[in-house]
Amino acid sequence: MNKMEKALHELTEMDDLAARSSPVHALHPTAKLLSTIAYIIVTVSFDKYDLGGLFPMLLWPVLLFEISGIPLRTCFYKLRIVLPLVMAVGLFNPLYDRAPMLLLGGTAVSGGVVSMLTLMLKGVFCLMASFLLMATTPIDSLCAALRRLHVPGMLVTLLLLTYRYVGVMTEELAIMTDAYHLRAPGQKGIHVSAWGSFLGQLLLRSMDRAQELYGSMQLRGYHEHFHYAPIRAFRLPDGLYTLACGAAFLLLRFVNLGRLLGGLVVR
């Protein structure tokens, strides 16, 4: 297996994870979707210096990972490519925000460092939550849930096809890199001089395949909207779960747990 095929394999593994069973998997996709969106909004809304307040937000994804039986390790392994990108966002904050902010063990920590850490954590938390959603909900159910929430059919189809189409592109890329390396033995990566034609070919080939795929869909009666597998009814426990999550997020956002606990201990 070359690198690309491995990536492809990992993609189908997501489907496998989503097909497992656990209390989290059993929740209604709409409940999971709404709570994840709420989580992301609340997480992002924390003040950029509120590192202490943000930290307890980690509880929710960690708890759900635990209950769903999906190892956190898998999450970080699969996200190893995007994680550094997300982390890099706040990297320059320490450079222009040097005012000392708090004292940690006698050393002054600047506001830039605090806001960098906050930003990084926000990114990581949101990624963890999104991964959890994808790993516990089949993409079709997720799309069906989006349709139920009246997200336009075109958008949902686009999402679904993108998800599927990444596979096709990766496959073409795998074939092409193999062909390249067979004729350029011992070379690491693809030489810069070949990038242009390589990319052009990749696009053409994927477009050809996309066209055939789309033709095959049309021939089977497809016009614009998918028939998603029916999802079960939204029941009371799903509603309670969504509300409980929402309430917990608001609590974590507006009541500073750290300070509260600290206060209790001192008193």
């Binding site: 492809l8 394999h9 189908t12 489907d15 079709d140 599927r164 596979g167 096709v168 496959e171 395949r209 055939e212 795929l213 033709g215 095959s216 869909m217 049309q218 021939l219 089977r220 009666g221 497809y222 016009h223 028939h227 597998a229 029916p230």
Partner: protein, 239 residues
Amino acid sequence: MIEFQHVRFAYEKGREVIRDLSFRIARGEAVGLIGANGAGKSTVMKLALGLLSGEGRILIDGEELNRQTLASARRKLGFVLQNSDNQMFMPTVYEDMIFGPLNYMVSREEADRRVDEVLARLDLQALKHRHNHRISGGEKRMAAIATILAMEPEAILMDEPSSALDPCNRRLVINTIRGLEQTKLISSHDLDMILDTCSRVILLSEGRIAADGPAEEILRDRALLERNHLELPLRLAGG
């Protein structure tokens, strides 16, 4: 069932690929479309399905193919693509198989029933919940055929169904095709397969019909075949 009347088609202006093509395939017939690489076999299929449109008239089940009739015509036709990878785009075989029926407003129960019936008929039950990415080339071709059968088409078009298969899978596909009672149009340069599955043959050469007649007759005509860069089927070459 499928009729071409003076059909012409060019991908690029001035370079006609199909030149004044006329033929008629009756309901229930099994026709092999043969010809060298680039003769225009795939193009003929795509024209019949309305994926391409050219000059002249194409009739499907007596109705002229145009914007208004496209949907109803396509409903009667099933197309097995040359490359099964481009046909199977859902994650599992099962999901791919119900895709067509659901689009045609068949209820999910009925779609499920069809899937099980077709899989049982082709002896493919084991493939039902397998991932399309993880099945072999031969299994994928069989699954692609099953996908089309689940739509219960009146005619089946297959573009080189035996290409890139090992002898055992090729035999399996041939036997499956022989068992189908629908109208069949099968393109290939695997003439042994055509001899096994079709009673009539249309030989294409540079977008024109070079011969049209009983398979036994045309596939025995060594001079004709060689003129068209084809060879006698092994079975007939021997004796």
